[in-house]
Amino acid sequence: MQPEVNEKAGKPRRFDWASLFFNALLPLAGMLLALLIGAVMLIILKVNPITAYAELVKGAFGSTSGLTQTLVKATPLLLVGLGICIAFRASVINIGGEGQIIVGAIAATWFPLTFRTWPGWLLIPSTLLVGFAAGALWGFVPGILKARLRVNEILSTVMMNAIALQLMNLLIRSVLMDPAGITAGTYLAQSERLPEQAWLTRLVPQTLLHSGSLIAVVLAVLVYIFLWRTTIGYRIRAVGFNPEAARFSGINVPFNQALALTLAGGFAGIAGAIEVLGVQHRLLEGITSGYGFSGIVAALFGGLHPLGTIPASILFGALLVGGDKMQRATQVPNSLISTILGLVVLFVVGSALWSRRWAAKRQMAAAKNQDVQA
């Protein structure tokens, strides 16, 4: 689980064809292989794969609605992914994203409904903060359990996911239930609609694209600055890079890992808050849409780098949106989409081998050159 070694440290600026091949084309080849297998499955289902995949691309990028929908989906992926970046850099696996999104969404629903008279410029930022805090709490608990009691975070986060889900069920069917549903006798599994001043601004009319996407990008830059330009960020990365060496240089490893988990939870919490404020305008069942897991994929596609996660989440969002469009056009079962996506993840992640080997070889060659010159 070592993050990439060759980051931004002094690479020559001339265009590097070989590096391009290994870093870009191999994952692309992996993706194409997965799509090829998908094409075989499409043929078995009596669907023309070329038209099907054309619909996929058109669906993701070929129209305003498609493009905006891609960005709408990319937003929570990016936010969760940012948290994952921080956590992975400290060698901590956060699979608690689902639960952290849920508590962030709960907080971001309860808060505006309680303070519904506040003006928007106050309500929105404070709600986002509350969402972050709730998610952070949900990351803090596994963090402190790991730091103090050596409870493995995979166990605690999986359990916390389930607990969060039941917590949401409890609230949604009782205190947070939409009064309109109770009066009408429908008892729908949703909260009241949030007051309008809590809604994030829609950026493009007749689409769902909202200002949360911009907030997410800003946060990505902030996370980059945090990780590479602050001492705390340095410590977090040091812990992940070499825990023993970090310990020797006086860095408190458990504390920083707990901190990383807490921050990861906070970002997932913001993802939940933004889904509530920007997209759904209320809390309802299924608010996570699996982003807690797909955000992990987005982060890894982005090289565990906050800025890399931006295009990675757009790409993943595109696959999701395009896949749905493909389903509508060809009427294939949408489980086929999930199957193909699984293969994409497997093959792209598998293709990293050669880029790592290539990078390692070049590093050794560069080191040798320096030795010779010295």
Binding site: A24, A54, R173, L208, G302, A318
Partner: protein, 332 residues
Amino acid sequence: MFKRLIVVLVLLAVILTACATPTAAPTTAPAKAFRIAVVMPSATTDMAFSQSMWDALTAIQTEMGGTSALEIKFSENMFNVPDAATAIRDYASQGFDVVIAHGSQYGSSVQEIAPDFPAVTFAWGTDVNTFGMPNVYAYTAAAEEGGYVNGVLAAKLTKSKIIGVTGPVEVGDAKTYIDGFVQGVASVDPAITVSKTWTGSFSDVALMTEAAKTHIAAGADILTGSSQSVVGSIGAAKEAGNVLWFGTQQDQASLAPSLVVASQVYDWNGMLKEIIAAHQAGTLGGKTYTLQLANNGLKIAYNSGYALPADVKAAGDKAIADIIAGTVKVTP
């Protein structure tokens, strides 16, 4: 490292767009076919909510003469609301006559999209709000009515005087059905124990099965429940051998032919036919449909495979008649 992804993104888009044939148009139905699109939150095979609508649509399609008379396109497992919104908007823009948003969570999406497509009929449920728009229908099912009838039948049939209810989450029509059921039982004999369990999930079949087995071990000889995971409860009843089952949303007799007494069936046929006819006549919406026993939207499907004593059936029929007449009021 992120350079790699920008390049991947661009290259992928270029390659696939290049592969796209310019004439990749959606299949056009032959002229005059009525076109309905439906967006559902779960699978068409869920033996519950989504399947009830799907079965109704395919039945109407057969009745009307097949795919040349009625074209149906569907998107299932759309539990992500923005994705569903994209699907609804997409189908509307493809010129479908009716777009059915079969999920209560799709309400705000319908509210936003319907004004942009004044020639398309939007039907959404389960809810009662048409937002005052002329091209929106809302529909819901008074599940508590069938629940009441099932409760009356169950109360008459139980020998152990203990009835078990296996529910998912206490919301929506799972809640209203069970509330009605409890009232039905109480109207026959308030001393009967109706104990309820909730598994906290609509899809956890294993836990639902164990819940059913727990009821049986605690003495229940009749079970009921709601959601797609009740297939597990029915399985448990089957394994016990002499535990009876009452179903809702779908006719569940096929899963345990000798043990299912009756199911409340959501019959969307009547409503759909009305909507189609109205659309062809020029009316695109503006009405709320509630499936009820009175309008044949809800039906109690007695299982012919189970020998129901005549007096019990009479009690059930009387309950149906009373609800229709309004002498018995069931409150969710």
